[in-house]
Each structure stands twice: as C-alpha cells, then as structure tokens.
C-alpha cells in the first residue's frame, strides 16, 4: 500500500507554517500563528502518464468524482426519458400507442430505481464526495486511491448490467422500484425472468462498489485532514457527505441481503420471501418465506436512503447560502447536531412506509412518533438557512436562486411528509398521487436544486470558467416553475384518489377532473425535462468561450478554493499542504479589510478584527 501511515514524531512535513507568518514578516512564526509540526508523512500518489491512466483508470479523486458525475448524469437522463414516456401515456395515451401496460410498469420501475440509487446517490456521494472531500479537508487525495478507482468501475459495471436488462428477453423488471416479492419473481410480472435477476445483480455490484468508496470517504475525513482542521472546522458539506456515508454503510447491507436472497429465491428456488403460493390452480414449490421480511429489509435501506440523498444536499446548501449571502452560517453547531441527529433517527422510521402492509397498531404508533420527531432537527435546519439569509449581503445570482428554490421546495415536500407520517392520514392517501407529489418534491426536486446550485457554484473550480448567468436563470425559472406545475396538481390528484402506478385511468368517477390535469402535468414535465438540456448547452458553451474565473471567484473561505492552481492538479496542494487557522464561515467580519477571511489566514493577519462578533 502506498498510503501507509507512520507516526514518526518530529517529522517535518512541508507546510505553510514553516514560512514566515503574514503578520510578522520577519521569518519567524508569531505565537498566535503557531501550528504543530506535521506528523503525517506525505502521501505517495500514483500519477498517470498515458491517457488511459490519467482519465480512464485514474486514481485522482477529482477525476473519479467527475467520472461519477458524468455517469450518474447519463443514467439520470435515461431516467428522465423514461419519465417523459410515462407522462406521455398518462397525459396523451392516444399518442403513446406503442406502449403496453407492461412497458409502462417497466418504465416506472426503472425510472424509480435509476433516479434514487444510480443518479442521486451516486452523484452526491460519488460525484461531490470524491471531488470535494480531499480538497475541503486539505488532503492530497483519498486514503486508498486504488480502491477508489475500483469503486467507480464497479459502479460502471453496475450501470451496464442494469441497462442490459432493457435488451434481454422479457425486458427489465416491472415490479415497481420497491421490488416487492412475491410478484416480482412470479410469472405474469413484466421482467420476472432475466430482468429482475439483472436488477438484483446490479444492486449487489453497486453496494459492493459503494462500500469501497465509502470506506475512503470515512477514513479520509476522520484520519487524513490537514493540520488545524478539526472536525468542527469542517465545512457543512463535508459533514453532510460524511454522515450520509455512515448511513449508507449501515443501510446498504440491507439492500444487499434483500437482493441476494431474492436472487436465490429466483435462481435456486429458496423461499426467503416466498410463502406457499397457488398459481393457476397449481401449488408452487415455494413455501415458508415471508414477503414482509423483504419489505422490512428494503425499507431499512430505503428510508435512510432518503437521508443519504438529503444530508449531502443539506450540507452543500448550507455552504452555498453562507458564501452567497456573505454571512456565517447561523447556528453551525446546531447544523452539525441536526445532521448527526437526522442520520441517527433515520434508522428508526422505516416502517412508516409499511402502514398498509399490516402491523401491530403499536408499531404504527411508534414509527409515526419517530417520524414526526425527525421533523424537529429538520425544521432547525430550515430556520437556520433562513436566519443565515436574514440581513445578509445577498448576491442574487443563479446559485442563490437555486438555494432559495431549494428551501421553498424542501419545506413544501417536508410538510406533506408530516401528513403521511401519521397513520390515520397515510392510510387513505397511500398509493395515491399525493405520495408521488410528496417524495418528488422532497427528495427529487429539492436535492436536484441543490445539485444545480452546486454545479453553478463549483464549476469555476472544476473548469476554471464561470457558467453563463443568463442561461442559468432561464434554466432555473423553467425548472422551478415547471416543477411546481407538475407536482402541485399531483397533490390534488392524490386527494381525489387517483392511484399511482396505473397504466390508464379507466372509466372512473374522477376521470373527468383528472384528464385535463394529467395533460397539463405532462406538458409541464416535457418542458422541465427539456430545460435541463440548457445546462448541458451552457457547460459546452462555457468550456469553449466561458469567462475565466481565476482564483477563488466567489470570495469563499473553504480550502477547495485555495489550491495553487485552478483547476486543482493531482495532489491538490503543490509542494505544501495547507494549514488551517479557523472555521470556513468568517464572512463580513467587523474590522476585516475584505468581507471574507480564508481558513488558511493566520490570526496575526487579522488581529484587528472581531471574529466572534460575526
């Protein structure tokens, strides 16, 4: 291993504290600026020389982050196209004559799984995690770069296997993204042959690959930070990604066990999830298993999964709001506690997805209570974002627009979550479009807005150029207004009882009011989907003729903006590792020359300021 740790006392690593302090200027370090000598030796990195080792099988976390980002976006676009097809059927069935009910179920299933696991999870943890963690904690790379590279390629194979299911006999599974047995593997369900098998294999590969990446994220955050970077000096982005990774490491084994056992039920005829079944008058060979066991396993993964997506989004949005409103984040400690608290609580709420599956009423009471308790730390975060904005020097740029869009959308989705967390309200709304509207608002659109804000914010670091603001505003407003045009009416559809996962609305009493609304929603969905291509155009345009951003274009404080080169090169920090002297939220400090003090600024340089009054 090239990254072995040795605790050699007295080892003098190259670091900025060995240079003269800014304030002193005499070649000696003032007392206030003193930092201990480095005790962790330099990381021995593998630098690729050919195109293949530099850009394909690369061990640089930043390149791996971009690879994750691109592949996740590619799968996300497939998910988007599937949603267009679904909306075409629901809004304009006469124009979707090519689509059978089986196709529709398959599209619903693949859309759900792709968006939740292969797009959002991979993008937040694999994409942002890889790119930002080493930079933000002041490391040269992840602690196990080779393992990190393998992690991406496992993800790549998982995606290939998943997409291969479109081309096998019977097509992909159409059992719904929750893959509930027994119908998932029984004849009559679309894709019950190779489709479900490939889905399970793909999920197993994804979990195995993610475990390798997650191991890297956790150890890099815990053990490879630069000097002066305490846990409570880390940006909230890192806290969010770190806690989400802990959640993923504890929740994904449930998905792995579920997928593995379902594979065995399908291939070897075991009965983990299969009760005694009578099919067409014939008793099948299964027996003794429990379909409810799968539901427990799935949701033990599935609910923390919501926070695996949400926590990085919470962290990122906190940093974006702070930087673009030129204010320190309100209640930093509370924000960290809320992230950790939400993470812990997320393991005690899973059965609120199973109120209609049949459970002891006391369990329903327990899970409703824990679900509602989780609203407390979540609300704390919302208040703190708003209070950060309060009387801030807000820059109403595209990044800020996405931030504001996120807060509103998240509150909307969160409130409907409180409806559904209550058993008595959930039961009549279960499996209706109200549920679809709720989770798309809270874990579809809201995190997507964070992704977009983050792309506009960090693109100047990745590519060295600003994305076009005008195109960005078009992108934002079309997405924001369009998304509300899609999901607000869906709440109403849910209230009037329109069920989810139905291929067509049939001749039912609510059909008259639902038809027009479905057409409207579909039109909005086409427009919102198409609006996302504005970003792709913007990126291509910017890479060619974009305005150069230079160093630290947003006047941020965190370390990722303080690399010697933009974009940062492999190893991030040139010859000397940075040394951290403060937290990343010293904005608009009274007495300071500028409205930001970077994390590496020694105390002697800002001796006249009143940091604690920010």
């Amino acid at each position: 291993m090239s990254d072995e740790y040795e605790n050699k006392k007295g080892y003098q690593a190259q670091s900025s504290e060995s240079i003269s302090s800014g304030g002193g200027g005499s070649g000696t370090v003032s007392d206030a600026d003193y930092v201990r000598p480095a005790e962790i030796p330099e990381q021995d990195l593998y630098h690729g020389h050919s195109f293949i080792t530099k850009w394909v099988f690369c061990q640089d976390a930043k390149v791996i982050g971009v690879q994750y980002f691109l592949l996740a976006t590619f799968t996300g676009i497939i998910g988007l196209i599937l949603s267009w097809l679904m909306r075409l059927q629901l809004g304009f069935p006469e124009a979707a004559g090519f689509m059978t009910a089986e196709h529709y179920y398959q599209f619903v299933t693949m859309h759900g799984m792709i968006m939740v696991v292969y797009f959002l999870t991979a993008l937040f943890l694999g994409g942002f995690g890889n790119y930002l963690i080493p930079l933000m904690v002041g490391a040269r790379d992840m602690v196990f770069p080779y393992l990190n590279m393998v992690s991406f390629w496992m993800f790549f194979i998982a995606v290939v296997v998943l997409l291969a299911s479109f081309f096998v006999p019977g097509g992909p599974t159409g059992a719904g993204w929750t893959l509930y047995p027994p119908q998932t593997i029984l004849e009559g369900t679309p894709g019950s042959g190779m489709g479900i098998l490939l889905m399970c294999i793909s999920l197993i590969l994804f979990v195995a690959g993610f475990t390798m990446g997650g191991l890297n994220y956790l150890i890099t955050v815990l053990q490879a930070r630069t000097r002066g970077m305490t846990l409570m000096r880390m940006p909230l982005t890192v806290w969010g990604i770190f806690t989400a990774t802990v959640l993923a490491m504890l929740a994904f084994p449930a998905l792995l066990v579920g997928a593995l056992m379902m594979t065995l039920d399908k291939v070897l005829g075991t009965s983990f999830f299969m009760p005694t079944i009578l099919q067409a008058g014939e008793v099948l060979e299964y027996g003794g298993g429990s379909p409810i066991l799968f539901q427990h396993l799935f949701w033990f993964f599935g609910h923390p999964e919501v926070y695996i997506v949400a926590l990085p989004a919470f962290g990122i949005i906190s940093d974006l709001i702070s930087v673009h409103s030129r204010k320190n984040i309100f209640g930093y400690r509370m924000m960290v506690w809320a992230i950790v608290g939400i993470g812990a609580l997320s393991f005690f709420v899973w059965a609120h997805h199973m109120y209609v599956s049949g459970m002891n009423p006391w369990f329903g009471f327990f899970f409703a209570t824990t679900t509602l308790i989780i609203a407390i730390p979540t609300a704390m975060k919302v208040y703190n974002w708003v209070l950060t904005l309060w009387r801030g020097n807000i820059r109403l740029n595209v990044v800020m627009l996405w931030c504001l869009g996120f807060i509103i959308t998240f509150v909307n989705g969160g409130i409907t979550g409180i409806f559904l967390g209550n058993v008595s309200v959930d039961v009549p709304l279960s499996d209706t479009y109200f549920v679809i509207a709720h989770f798309h608002m809270v874990m579809g659109i809201a995190p997507l807005m964070v992704i977009m804000g983050a792309v506009y914010h960090w693109f100047p670091l990745v590519a060295g150029r600003f994305l076009d603001e005008t195109l960005g505003k078009w992108h934002f407003w079309l997405t924001f207004l369009g998304a509300y045009s899609i999901y607000f009416p869906m709440h109403y559809l849910g209230f009037i009882g329109v069920p989810r996962r139905y291929f067509e609305m049939y001749d039912s009493p609510y059909v008259t009011s639902a038809v027009g609304m479905n057409e409207f929603i579909s039109m909005a969905a086409f427009i919102v989907g198409a609006a996302q291509f504005i970003l792709i155009f913007n990126i291509i345009k910017t890479l060619k003729i974009g305005k150069p951003a230079g160093h630290n274009p947003w006047q941020a404080n965190s370390l990722e903006w303080l690399t010697p080169t933009v974009p940062p090169e492999h190893g991030n920090w040139g010859e000397k590792l940075p040394v951290v002297h403060r937290w990343p939220y010293d904005f608009s400090v009274p007495g300071a020359k500028e409205d930001f003090i970077t994390q590496t600024t020694p105390p002697s340089e800002v001796a006249e300021t009143e940091v604690e009054k920010t």
Binding site: R36, R233, S290
Partner: protein, 226 residues
C-alpha cells in the same frame, strides 16, 4: 466506549469561532483517532459486516417456521472441527503479535504461513460440510433453516477469502523482507489479526444460534419443563 462517547460529544460541543478555541484547534494534528488507516478500515468493515450478519440472523429468526427438519446440523459433525480450526487461527495471530513484540521475525514468518494454511483448511472444511449436507438431501431450497445456513456460511467464507487476499499481500512482503523491515509491517499484521478475531466472533455467534434457536432445541427445552 465511554471515552469514544466523551470524545464524540466533546467534539460536537466545540465552538470553533471562539478565539480561545482557535488557539487549541490550531494545534490539532489533523487525524481523529491515533490508529493507522489500515486499522481504521478494518473497524469500519466491522460495522458494515455486523449489520450484514445481523440482518441474516434476523432473517433466520424471522423465517424459521416450526416443524422444519433441523436434525442433521445438530448431530456431532465437521462444523465442530472447523470451529476449532478457526480458534487456532486466532491463537496463532496472538502468537504473531507476541513474536513481533519479541522481534522474533523467523517465528513471525512461520506463524503467518500457519495462519494462512489453517484458514484455507477451515474453508476447505466448510466446503466438505456443504457436500455432506447435499449428500444427505439438505439443499439450499430444502427449507429456510438450511437456506440461511448456506447463505451465512457463504458470506462468512467470502469475508475470509477477502482477508486471505490481504494476508497474501502482507505475507508475501514479510517473507521477502529483511529482519529489521519486518517489524514495520506490524500495523498491517495487527489489522489482519483484528479482522480474523472479528470473523471468529461472528462465526461463534452463528454457531451458537443454529444450535439454540431451532425447533428441536425448543422441543427439547419443553420436554425438560414438562
């Protein structure tokens, strides 16, 4: 554990923006725990593997209906010998740790090879036991008792194979190194030792469970009471 909790809550209570706190934080060396990255990795893998095996245990307890034929596993069999083999592996890891302390590198090399050999023997023993099960007509699809047994032993074996991969890397390096350099491998060896001890504990838990939580045992207990 109490130290860990104290550290965790102590950390969460810090106020990084205060001048007094900044003076303390500036002296922070950067890492949270005074352990190697290898050991950190092993500890995190413990966490993941514990969830994985706990879920299989839960699934076993959840799906074990009464009246399943569990007799075959409960008779004296090869599993006892395999368990003993795994005990020996841990014993030899303990010896290696002591040898490292005594700087007896020759014994380190020898005992590392014994560890690898015994682990392969354990895996071989498990496969033989699978064949015995199959021969007796107890397949993976026979009932949920055996299905869980096969799944657990397969996953446990896979974890050991993963450990053997790293054992191979460390051992091949140790065998080639000179005496004074071998001691530098201590962190890798102690991480491996920790990993094997963990897998022994997991195995013992499962071993205990298949003997205790089964229909025959419950019936036997009832017979004692009645």
């Amino acid at each position: 554990m109490s130290n860990l909790l104290k550290k965790l809550f102590g950390t969460l209570l810090q106020k990084p923006w205060e001048t007094e706190r900044a003076a303390i934080d500036n002296a922070h060396e950067g890492k949270t725990f005074d352990i190697s990255v290898q050991k950190s990795a092993v500890i995190i893998i413990f966490g993941i593997a514990t969830v994985l095996f706990s879920l299989i245990f839960t699934s076993y307890l959840y799906t074990l209906p009464p009246g399943q034929d569990t007799q075959y596993l409960l008779r004296p069999n090869l599993l006892w010998i395999n368990t003993l083999t795994l005990f020996f592996v841990t014993y030899f890891f303990n010896k290696v740790t002591n040898d490292l302390k005594k700087k007896d590198t020759l014994k380190v090399k020898r005992n590392l090879l014994i560890i690898g050999g015994l682990t392969y023997l354990f895996l071989f023993g498990q496969i033989i036991f699978w064949f015995q099960l199959l021969k007796s007509g107890n397949y993976v699809s026979t009932n949920s008792y055996f299905a869980n047994f096969y799944v657990f032993t397969a996953l446990h074996g896979l974890h050991l194979l993963g450990g053997l991969f790293f054992w191979g890397k460390v051992s091949s390096r140790v065998l080639k190194l000179e005496q004074n350099k071998i001691l530098e491998e201590e962190k890798n060896i102690s991480a491996l030792s920790l990993y094997w001890t963990y897998l022994l504990i997991v195995w013992l838990m499962f071993f205990l469970m298949i003997y205790i939580f089964n229909d025959a045992f419950v019936a036997w207990c009832k017979s004692l009471i009645s």
